[in-house]
Symmetry: C2
Subunit: 370 residues, 2 copies
């Protein structure tokens, strides 16, 4: 069981605290992605410095290497990676579905071949829960089928209904412990009726939180927001809502305005490795020659070590020279930028000021290139 | 001018303090290599945490990218990389010599083609000094010709004599400022007479310190130590001695026992990127399967964050998964190990205990695999 306390709401946007065995998560929350038990290019101390309350790790990657049983023997994922705040794990469902050529789906679950060595593995709702418990995850996710986009309404319905049966099996396989929880995942593609049906099925089972899955898979921001508009109102008020795999700053703001509480995405970390900086003025490509003699920090107002100590010119140089410190410094900044955005959203909701905050941010942000 | 105060000697080994514009260097000192204005895989804060008093940067790489004049416009190398302790720069001589197919040597200097874009550049003693001053280096090195190994005595003599003429031009081109200095470089291959002649030429010119060049180029530890045996006694007592490009822990210990004060080498950083750990028991390849479930830290006694927080099993996993955090954590450890060795040497010399310290260390170290 996980406690979730809502502190304030402003329109549909909410701010609160989700409490787990490893501490509290202030919502709206952004979870950096630590795929294989490391947030790429970051020490765990640096991740904590960005202000992150929780990170996400991937069941699929960890079950293959180093293996869930091995991590359990080494004391669990928190100890393995020396991150003692909350961890949410996905169920592996999304990754195995995307192995298109390498997997076979049945009602029982999915058998697939490892992308690392071709060895055969299987994931079922029961095994996905077992692995996540072996990892010691604070928040487990049900094993589901991520409905591809586009899908016909019939395809989306069949896929969603299987996911609901798997959700029930996942919940049954989950071991309830104080401070640990399991989230259901709403599916149904871009079809409002199916989303409502999925929510009804999940709330009937009962979960600690509800994720909205199957979005950010190519449908575009308009359809994504539209789907949130027809899904969130059905979700229980007193449970956290998590939009999986989202997103860009403007995606996050739009989703918070529609009542979402939690997010994860590889964008800030991946961008950091590829020289893309996130700033309040928009995105900047640090390889661009205009930064070669720019002595200013990425952002004057940013509190990260990168901005405190280094110029845009230095970052430009590091990326041109292919030095690891470039990704290290820029990932630190991008994650700090994301956490500053979340902090801003939380404060704006508390101050009943979310519309102004969102308008100001999006106005300055220019939806892209700074 | 640089002040150098010897605090203690034990046999030929010495410990002291070399003072520069950016602070003091405790000798014997190991300088991590920050080739292109970054110690690979390390933040400058992490470099400082290892205990390093000084780092080395490469004139050759920096003159090509981002360019010495550009770094000067950005406030100098210390500010550019946010490292506010001393920096020693090499002269670029060693690198341009090794471009064999891409360079032409004359009495005036060397013209060469950039390994980055093929553009043509030249380095002369005067330009090498100018670049190092633009960078703001605390300790500049004369421009010299690194005599290849093997070389006949005649080849070594001619090469050394040219280096001595270049040393004189370098000294003349150096701008004396308080807290900044220039080191001469002894050449002469493995020929004792030539080494003595080179020392006489350099001391005749007069330098803030004396480097021993042209070693660690394939001659082996025996010939290297033999060359130190016949070179160090000629060097002035009251000036620091720097063995360039050395080396493994046992090389450093042997050289300190012969009177050397300063070292630089890419070994601990390069090893860190390639999964090789340095420990008091010897070297360990972290990719080795025997570490897969080893919950112990690399070294119980090590004070670095890697050893404080992470297991060998985690490091093994990071390298198997190709994660950047592996090189980051292992470079931090290896540099910390090297600095602990230097601290041990300094304390042993002060305590008149260097023979026992060296014997203990080398006995445990087993000259290689742990």
């Amino acid at each position: 069981m996980l406690s979730f306390i809502l502190m304030a709401a402003n329109g549909l946007a909410r701010t609160g605290t989700l409490s787990t065995a490893h501490g509290d998560i202030r919502t709206p929350a952004f979870m950096p992605v630590g795929t294989v038990a490391t947030v790429k290019a970051m020490s765990v101390r640096a991740v904590a410095q960005t202000g992150a309350d929780i990170l996400l790790a991937n069941t699929y990657h960890l079950m293959l290497r180093p293996g869930a049983e091995r991590i359990a023997r080494l004391g669990g994922l928190h100890r393995f990676m020396h991150w003692h705040k909350p961890i949410l794990t996905d169920s592996g469902g999304f990754q195995v579905m995307s192995l298109s050529e390498l997997r076979k789906i049945s009602e029982e679950g999915v058998t697939f071949q490892s992308h690392i060595d071709g060895s055969t593995h299987s994931l079922t709702p029961e095994r996905a829960m077992e692995i996540q418990q072996l990892l010691g995850s604070d928040i487990q996710m049900v094993f589901d089928e991520c409905t591809p986009y586009p899908a016909t309404e019939q395809q989306a319905a069949q896929s969603m209904q299987r996911s609901m049966r798997w959700a029930e099996r996942s919940k049954r396989a989950f071991s309830p412990r104080d401070g640990y929880g399991v989230f259901g995942i709403v599916q149904g593609g871009v079809y409002p009726g199916l989303r409502a049906e999925s929510v009804a099925a999940l709330t009937g089972i009962g979960f600690d939180g509800y994720a909205i899955g199957g979005l950010a898979v190519g449908e575009g921001q308009g359809l994504m927001f539209g789907t949130l508009d027809v899904t969130c109102p059905h979700l229980p008020e007193n449970r956290p809502r998590y939009l999986m795999g989202v997103g860009k700053p403007d995606d996050i703001i739009g989703a918070v305005l529609r009542g979402v509480d939690m997010f994860d995405c590889v964008i800030p970390t991946r961008a950091g490795r590829f020289a893309r900086a996130y700033t309040a003025q928009g995105e900047m490509n640090m390889r661009n020659a205009r930064f070669a003699e720019d002595a200013a920090p990425l952002e004057e107002i940013c509190s990260c070590e990168t901005c405190a100590h280094h110029s845009r010119a230095y970052l430009h140089h590091l990326f041109k020279a292919g030095e690891m410190l470039g990704p290290m410094l820029l990932t630190l900044h991008n994650l700090t930028f994301y956490q500053r955005l979340m902090q801003g959203l939380r404060e704006a909701i508390s101050a009943q000021n979310i519309a102004v905050f969102a308008g100001d941010f999006l106005g300055r942000y220019q939806g892209g290139e700074a």
